[in-house]
Amino acid sequence: MIESHLPATIALIFVLFSVLIPAFGIWRSELSQPLAVLGSGLAAAFSIIGFIQYLSDGALRYYFGGWEPPVGIEFVYDGLSGFFIMVINTVAFFVFIHSHHTAKQEFPGKEMPYYALGILMLLGFNGMVLTGDLFNLYVFLEIASLSGYALIAIGDRQAPYAAFRYLIIGTAGGTLYLLGVGYLYTVTGTLNIIDMSAMLPMLYESNAVFAALILMIVGIGVKAALFPMHGWLPDSYTYTSSSSAALIAPIGTKVAAYILFRIMLWLFGIELTDAMAPVTLFVGILAAIGILYGSVMAIAQNELKRMLAYSSVSQIGYIIMGLSLANPWGFAGALLHVLNHAVMKAALFMISGQLRLREGHSDISRFDDSYRKKYPWTMAAFTVAAISMIGLPPLAGFFSKWYLVLGTIDNSNWIFLAVILISSLLNAVYFFRILEKVYMMNPAKGQKSVSDGDRNEAPASMMIPTLILSGSLIVIGFANAVIVGILLGIAPF
């Protein structure tokens, strides 16, 4: 009867592998990557099976040790959590396959800690998404954060500093969240989300509840890099190793976004969120500013990873803006963008890793059209991901914007509509800038011209995951009606 234990199984896989990897890694360091791939692959498979089961059988509540909540702790495998862990684990699986060469080159001898920490972080992420208990969520948040700080510290010389900065800000964020949970606990006497959500409507005039909501949003906003609490993100993603960036960037902030979804739409519920409309609106405005700020800053960057980092600040804004719209189209657009952005950003960070592996840098000002000849497939994958980021049909990125646009129109929120449009143009600026260089700029004088014979494509273990991810952007684009149909079914409206 493994099916009924599915939520716990997924978490236990990560627990198991976070022990197995150090154990085997000490003996044979090269075993750690296959183990990590195996672990995340198993988890991805289970999460996909679980999601399919959810579609046929509905949500699953798993009580640990048979203790029913509110006494015991439960994992809730519903549409939202199922969707998120499916995205997280699948992307992580591809990133782990891809990281083989970059890990060996960028931090030789530290592969074992990298993979062990990566699996541990995934344990935290999966736990945060699956748990039905607010305090339990904090515990998983800390597991994920601590391993995240360590992962970011693996990298350039500045990486430990960036990680330390993140640690300070991140811990403050976690503490604010915990404070919010404390407030809620004092007024409701429970930590279980479903239990608490039944009580909150009776307490919506309580200042404690209001303060708790603000504290939780701010605390989690730090983790989600919601403007203006994004300060830690650009440095962290830039200076950390390519492998860590590719692992954390696509999914790290998404999990924080998940918590915001859970808190605002499920725990407080749509009626209560309406009663606190100023809060929702405020979150939406922050997201809108973040979208524009991230895009403008991305244009100003000369380093690919740093540009992608600012782009992440902007893209997380789309997701949170969709959440703040609190209507079905906005919700579907935001969740579709969770999937799209995870795939796009993973592909783009993996491509920056491939360039660093071959060129030793990812400095945009040094790109020229020799890259097209040396790395034709990498650049093709980059082009697809970039066009999807800009949001041109039929690629996936277009459709999340389409639904977000529909959502803003349903709310008659013309400013947000304009923000989405302007940001798409800004995206076009910073991506076409690179495409123009890669496909057209002749190499600087003094460099030997490159002929087709000098092809120096990244190894297959990197190329294949990258191509699968970029290719899936086309598939998601054409299949988005099905996905959105499911997502609209998840929506709590």
Binding site: V405, L406, E436, N480, A481
Partner: protein
Amino acid sequence: MNLEFVPLLAILVSLAAVLPIMLSDRKPNLREFWTILAALIKFGLVLTLLPGAIQGNSVELHLVDLAPGLPLALKADPLGVFFAVIASGLWIFTSFYSIGYVRGAGEHKQTRYFASFAVCLSATIGIAFSANLITFILFYEMLTVATYPLVIHNEKEEAINAGRKYLAFTLTAGLLLVSASALVYHYTGTLDFTPGGLFSGVEIPDTEMLIIFILFLAAVGVKAGIMPIHGWLPAAMAAPTPVSALLHAVAVVKSGVFAVLRVVGYVFGTDVMGSYGLNDILIVLAGATIILASLIAFNQDNLKRRLAYSTVGHLSYIVLGVALITPIGITGGIMHIAAHATMKITLFFCAGAIYVNLHRTEISQLDGIARVMPWTMGAFVIGSMGLAGIPPINGFFSKWNLALGALEGDMILPVIILVVSGLLNVGYLFPIIYRAYFKKGEGLEKYGEASPLMVVPIVITAALSILFGLFPNLFFNFYDLAVDISSSLFINQVP
């Protein structure tokens, strides 16, 4: 015969040609064979749809849902077939001409050139056969992206700047189109192109209707070259001449005016256009564009730029015809899509032949060239006469209908604009002919006529301009089609 999949195949055939074209990188003759083959098959497929279209039938195909309730759907209705016949037919000539041009001019990266060209044609036919706005957006953006490598083809500073300008205009337009479509979807719950419009039975406040219309206008007006958002078109003349000929006189810009027709006739509907007074906006903009563009054309010494401004003006003839909202006016507008296509492609072909043969791009350098390039300049004369609206070229026929359409709607101003514009056309095109024929040229002794690969297409397109002028229903029943299409747009209106 089951025609259901013909529109899809017609779109895909040139897309499928991209791979063989890229694989035959090192064998130019084989590579060009693929282009020609795709062009011929595409034209043949489009032609099989023509008999049905003449009878007023449409072929529909629903593929996957792109979004809940919004399918990727193709519909080869008479208007779509009309446009597809023109675009795919002229692609054949352009392909032959391109071969002569790129080899004659020794262009680099010819494989990229032919591959992008093939994608552009797929997108253009896709635009012609789109059954709803979301499918339309898909192909419209595809055309934007596929044209970009052609605009920046020579990779010089000027071309790269032109490419940036092009993207800035067209991507913005694409976003406005997305938001306009989203608004239409919000109000009507559908995006299917329907003769007579989508807004019947929907109450929308005046201001909101106006906003939606302006969004659409800005979105499709960019590719249709309506002033003041035409700026990318003269800049895009940095592209190789066959690109200017097919894309910037036929495929891309005609997609723009085609979109105007779709929006006016199939999204808003003729009665909504009239009752909300939206067509007045169009008439004013189109009229101003016609006159201003002609005036600016006088000032251009670069032949291609002068032709580009002439294109801007003539596109607005079509927009003007549509904006008249009278059956004959719209017929005239539709006819001018075909007429301007054959005439302007001829002129651009001539400009390209002159450039490849004599390496001359400025009008002031063209003294006496008719002596060495008699066929080319003969065709140029025909094209110029047509643009000025002199019978028996097809430009006269469409203009005559436009004027009749204006009178039908009791409007005098458009007639005056058309007459003045005709004179201005003479004013900026005939001095070129004068130079070529009556001035004495220098340094022309060692030159002859351009390569037959270029001259034959030039002569054919020029001949087509005359033939369609004399017999508007020749070969393809263009006139009957135009009349049918235009009358179908007035289906909702009580006479």
